[in-house]
């Protein structure tokens, strides 16, 4: 899915801070249209490393629809541009549901679809600052503090 020009520019303005953060945490970030032909500039591939298992890597596909106004879809893949249907690509952590291939938290479209009530109050999607950085910081915090194992 393509995004509007304003969203693309807003993402470009925020992505440097996200990339810096990911690198600081032994991860990475790459925009899909920079991976190769036919890519989407609304999609990023973020590589996470759980601090307790330094050799592990998890690849999240983060797709934006209207940035910063709407939450992204987040799925884990078995490789950059790989399958999104593999449960073993998912980490086992509270709120992460490999069996449903979703994250049940107010940081992504899947979470808000499961809990529409999260769209109100303190759980509402934040549009101030750099929400992209907030999403990956939240996920990295969970990888660093709550990671249990790779899903089967």
């Amino acid at each position: 899915m393509s995004i509007d020009e304003e969203s693309a520019l807003n993402l470009e303005a925020d992505e440097d801070a996200v990339l810096t953060f990911m690198k600081e945490n032994d991860g990475d970030l790459v925009r899909d249209d920079r991976v190769g032909d036919g890519g989407e500039r609304s999609v990023y591939w973020a590589t996470f490393r759980p601090r307790s298992v330094p050799k592990e890597r998890f690849i999240a596909r983060i797709e934006w629809f209207a940035y910063p106004y709407q939450e992204p879809s987040i799925k884990f893949a078995d490789a950059i541009r790989g399958s999104l249907m593999v449960t073993s690509a998912w980490p086992m952590m509270p709120g992460y549901r490999p069996g449903s291939l979703d994250i049940c938290e107010p940081i992504c479209r899947e979470g808000f679809n499961t809990h529409p009530e999260w769209r109100q109050g303190s759980t509402a999607w934040p549009t101030d600052g750099n929400p992209f950085l907030w999403v990956v910081q939240t996920m990295q915090f969970q990888f660093d503090n709550d990671y249990q194992a790779r899903s089967a």
């Binding site: 709120g95 934040p126 600052g129 750099n130 929400p131 907030w134 939240t138 915090f141 660093d144 503090n145």
Partner: protein, 90 residues
């Protein structure tokens, strides 16, 4: 208080989804994480509720409120925290 204990530490707390810039202060080494957390939450105008609690992360790890910032800074004169909005249910 010894000279080392009197030496202040530059504290910085970042929170990416705020209109405000980072919280910054000069605090004594014996200042606890809970004191910094309270000041940072006031700065960012956020508070705990039934859905979230706010915690400070240092070097990726959630820090207990009783920890003194001097123990985190070690030999350094500055310490950088991230304010984390931690969901209490999923």
């Amino acid at each position: 208080m010894s000279e080392a204990e009197e030496r202040k530490i530059h504290v910085r707390v970042s929170f990416p989804i705020s209109k405000k810039g980072a919280y910054e202060a000069e605090d004594h080494r014996k200042t606890t994480v809970s004191t910094v957390l309270a000041a940072a939450m006031k700065h960012f105008e956020v508070q705990d509720d039934s859905q979230f609690t706010y915690v400070l992360a240092f070097d990726g790890h959630e820090q207990a409120g009783s920890v003194e910032i001097g123990s985190l800074a070690g030999e350094h004169d500055k310490v950088h925290f991230t304010l984390v909005k931690k969901i209490t249910q999923g």
